[in-house]
Amino acid sequence: MIVKDAVCPFCGCLCDDIEVEVDGDRVVAVTNACELGTKKFMGEKRLKNPILRDGDAWKDITYDEAARYAAGMLLSAERPLLYGWSGTHGEAQCVGVHMAELVRGVIDNTSSVCHGPSILAIQEVGHPGCTLGVVKNRADLVIYWGSNPIDAHPRHLSRYTRYAEGFFLDNAFRDRKVIVVDVRKTETANIADEFVQIKPGGDYAVLSALRAIVRGKTETIPRTVAGVTREQLVRVANLCKGAKFGAVYFGLGLTMTRGKYKNIRNAIELVSELSRHTKFTISAMRGHYNVYGSNEVNTWMTGYPFGIDFSRGIAFYNPGETTAVDILARKECDAALIVGSDPAAHFPRKCLEHLAEIPVVQLDPYPNATTAFCNVQIPVAVTGIDAVGTAYRMDGVPIRTRQVLSSGYPSDREVLLKMYTLMQEGKGQ
């Protein structure tokens, strides 16, 4: 059987033109997807059933036993952390928020170590953005800043920018200029019309300098800024002002470096300044396929996109205090539920040392690094492969993923609902 127009649950591009050939309960071929997506569809070695750590050994348990363990753990905790959420569908994320409200815990998603700083910046200055198709059809200038789509979002270039057809571009490949700004000469830099190489930690200064130049204050700028000559900065500023439609895509090269959200704020303010001259937009290159969905769900249900602390009943938000890395490193939680992410692979070691000390339950289809710190792991279906559900693309477009095969695994939502029901009973509701 061939499933057409399947939705790839890997990165924030959420490509929805994938063809998946299925033989029984196995994917045998994937067409249109990039290497990352293909591997995800072809994934193997799932965890077969829920497991419980019993001293220095693992034992198999039932889904009911696992759900009871999780519910009990969350109900008895004084400050449980409910973390992850970017690797699951929106319907499951909604249950997660209700759980956090009920047990008065902290709910955070992977954006705190991804584009959380971008959100902090947007909260200061807003966000002039657009959907990907607007860029595809119009942009004659695309800037990748601190992002390397060839490795992280391989089809971004072919579907939306460098190699994409555009309604308003006669010859898109020739008429569309690409600028890459990075500290490394990445593979993406090799396909750029202009590469701006910045000294590490210098993004903020370069962005400030560009803003000043766009405002006609070139004389204030020193001869070089973070390794970039003033001449090149002026050239880039002129390319931007001369474009009919410019689009900036930024990545973790801005969010993870010195200054964090201030870098993004500066980039957004550059785009707002350019909007006085021509059309310009800016967007984040989001990693997990549904990290934006967890921001959206959290926002409509709690008012905040990530890092929400319900300890006091009402929602409190303060990234840096209510975000997972900070809480774990400061040992400020006493239980953790992990869904749709693998913090043990992606968090600094100090966080892992605390995970080793507290009870942890994880929902994940595969054994992963976090498994080692779990008291219970519950295998679930993979959204977009053996479960359906809603995901939000990096530009905010919601797409319903398709189920391409049946595996018999329950979805995240089903498992979470089972836990939530037990928790409501535990709370006498």
Binding site: K4, D5, V7, D16, C94, H98, E101, I119, I122, Q123, E124, V125, G126, H127, P128, G129, C130, T131, L132, G133, V134, K136, N137, R138, R159, Y160, E165, F167, F168, K244, F245, S272, S275, R276, K279, F280, T281, N295, E296, T299, W300, M301, T302, G303, Y304, P305, F310, R312, G313, I314, A315, Y317, T390, Y392, G396, V397, P398, I399, R400, Q429
Partner: protein, 566 residues
């Protein structure tokens, strides 16, 4: 079977011409019935003012743009926070509250039906997801067609039936209710950083004018026999002197429908400005209201501004950018491929500001100068003019000259020379308020026939009982009592269940979504049109098969089928 009897209600039900009659309301299984058995639960309301549940025919509560307003405003979320209590979820926010916050607060004010004013088709799934978490109201979504490429091309080709066919396909795909035009043509121009100045400016590349878009989409809307008329946010919102553009747009509208208006002009306060710039900015509510008084084919809503902090959000991207350049506050914009766009900025309307004072006056003037309350409905374009929790104050202002004068004394002193408000003596009565807050809204939306906005047998049992006796309170004097009464119902009954009582919501609820499926002939099924399919595949970034919103996204699915003429 569940039965409820609301006894001794002082009922105002304008769609049935009932004005303050004391009667009992019988409810069975969520519907109004003639009578119930002796086993029915009885609520005696002792002569309190009782109306059909409130209907808001233009509010922004769910979807991409609203959620972005929340997302970018953690400072707004610090207000209005409540913890989870019993069946109720936590809430946050003042001007852009969480979905639960919106739903609970509307319910406490007696509202049971809401129309989300602007849904981008490509992002419709998001609106529907949020509807599910707006549990205490039934919902429907106006669908944006202002910058739709296919429609502009069909208009350029003079093919009105194709315009209708694209609307039909899209409404059905995205589970939309009505046709919304926001700054028609302007949102497409904005994707080049440009705008259209008024209805005769051609849209770049597509070479059609806003006037053509408005007229052809109106014709298409009527070909499809949609319950609601075209819902227009006119060009040129918020600029001095824009009233001529508004009159020009209204002048395009023929009278095509016997049951309802042919055009719903929204938040007209923002479109009734005189002057050649900010220095001579003034009210032009009189020419607008006079024009509407002579044209039954037009219904408008106020778009009232109230002083204080709020968040503006609209599909009108270029207008928001102009606001940003005025305020230099934070600014968000979100253009949607082949369809439309949106913009968001926070604002504070201040009494000390002359322009803001004039805006405040204009909304009230429109309501007071429009002779028929059926033609000017009460809204703030929530949250653009003010959050909807300010409605009770607006009702009191409309009912009391004394209250208006007292408020007027606190606004910018130069306002008097720029607006007619101080000379207007009219005070609206309870019946007129009932029209403007439910009956007129239901009629304008075309949902009275499916049982909304009235209390006749067969209607949805959505009832608002306000803790006030209208034979004892003189609204022109006791405006404070009016504000209190409309701020908190004694009972809000939704689908036959008491969902809110004296300011407290009681149950979690479950909403229904109304949407429209026009039935068109095979020849006009765009799902099978090769040109439509080819353009979709080439220029959208979502596959056509993945575009339609599945019925799984409708909590309670209420499809309204229409027989189209194509």
């Amino acid at each position: 079977m569940t039965e409820l009897l609301v006894k001794n209600a002082c009922v105002i039900d304008p769609l049935r011409s009932i004005n303050a009659e004391t009667m009992d309301i019988a409810i069975r299984d969520g519907r109004i019935v003639e009578e119930v058995s002796g086993a029915a639960e009885v609520i005696d309301v002792h002569g309190m003012l009782t109306m059909p549940g409130g209907v808001d025919s233009h509010t922004h509560i769910c979807g991409t743009k609203v959620n972005f307003g929340r997302y970018m405003s953690p400072e707004d979320m610090r207000a209005g926070r409540t913890p989870r209590r019993g069946p109720l979820h936590a809430t946050s926010g003042y001007s852009v509250p969480t979905t639960y916050g919106n739903s609970y607060r509307y319910s406490v004010m007696g509202y049971t039906t809401l129309l989300e004013g602007a849904m981008a088709p490509l992002e419709a799934r998001h609106t529907h997801e949020e509807f599910i978490y707006t549990p205490l109201q039934d919902t429907m979504a106006n669908t944006l067609f202002d910058g739709n490429w296919g429609i502009m091309e069909a208009i350029r080709d003079g093919d009105t039936k194709r315009v209708a066919a694209i609307i039909a396909w899209t409404l059905r795909a995205v589970k939309g209710f009505g046709v919304k035009l926001t700054n028609p043509g302007g949102t497409e121009a904005w994707q080049w950083g440009k705008n259209v100045s008024c209805i005769r400016d051609p849209v770049p590349y597509f070479e059609v004018t806003p006037a053509e878009i408005i007229r052809k989409v109106i014709e298409a809307n009527e070909l499809l026999h949609l319950p609601h008329s075209v819902h227009l946010h006119a060009n040129n919102l918020g600029t001095p002197g824009n009233y001529t553009c508004t009159l020009g747009s209204m002048g395009l509208v023929p009278d095509l429908n016997k049951k309802r208006q042919t055009l719903y002009a929204t938040h007209v306060q923002f479109h009734a400005y005189g002057g050649s710039g900010w220095p001579d900015f003034c009210s032009k509510s009189e020419p607008i209201a006079n024009f509407v008084n002579m044209r039954p084919q037009i219904v408008m809503d106020m778009g009232q501004v109230m002083f204080g902090r709020t968040t503006t959000m609209t599909a009108d991207g270029p207008m928001e950018f102009n606001l940003y350049r005025l305020h230099h506050e934070k600014w968000s914009n979100h253009d949607v491929e082949l369809e439309t766009g949106s913009g968001i900025i926070p604002v504070i309307y201040r009494r000390k500001n002359l322009v803001n004072s004039i805006m405040w006056a204009i909304g009230l003037e429109l309501a007071l100068l429009t002779e028929s309350p059926w033609q000017c409905l009460l809204t703030t374009d929530n949250p653009n003019g003010a959050p909807f929790v300010r409605y009770p104050e607006i009702i009191a202002l409309l009912m009391s000259k004394k209250y208006r004068d007292a408020e007027f004394a606190t606004v910018h002193p130069d306002t008097a020379a720029r607006v007619p408000l101080p000379a207007i003596e009219r005070e609206l009565d309870w019946y007129e308020i009932a029209v403007m807050t439910r009956a007129g809204q239901a009629k304008a939306l075309g949902i009275q026939e499916i049982g909304k906005g009235h209390l006749g047998p067969g209607a949805y049992a959505d009832v608002a009982v306000y803790p006030i006796r209208i034979d004892e309170v003189d609204p022109s004097v006791d405006h404070q009592k009016v504000i209190e009464a409309f701020g908190q119902t004694e009972y809000t009954i939704k689908r036959g269940r008491v969902v809110a009582r004296r300011g407290e919501c009681l149950i979690d609820g479950s909403n229904a979504t109304f949407w429209v499926k026009p039935k068109v002939s095979e020849a006009y099924d765009m799902g099978k049109d090769p040109d439509f399919i080819e353009k979709f595949d080439r220029y959208y970034t979502v596959r056509m098969r993945n575009y339609p919103v599945q019925e799984e996204y409708l909590n309670r699915n209420r499809c309204i089928e229409t027989e189209a003429e194509i």
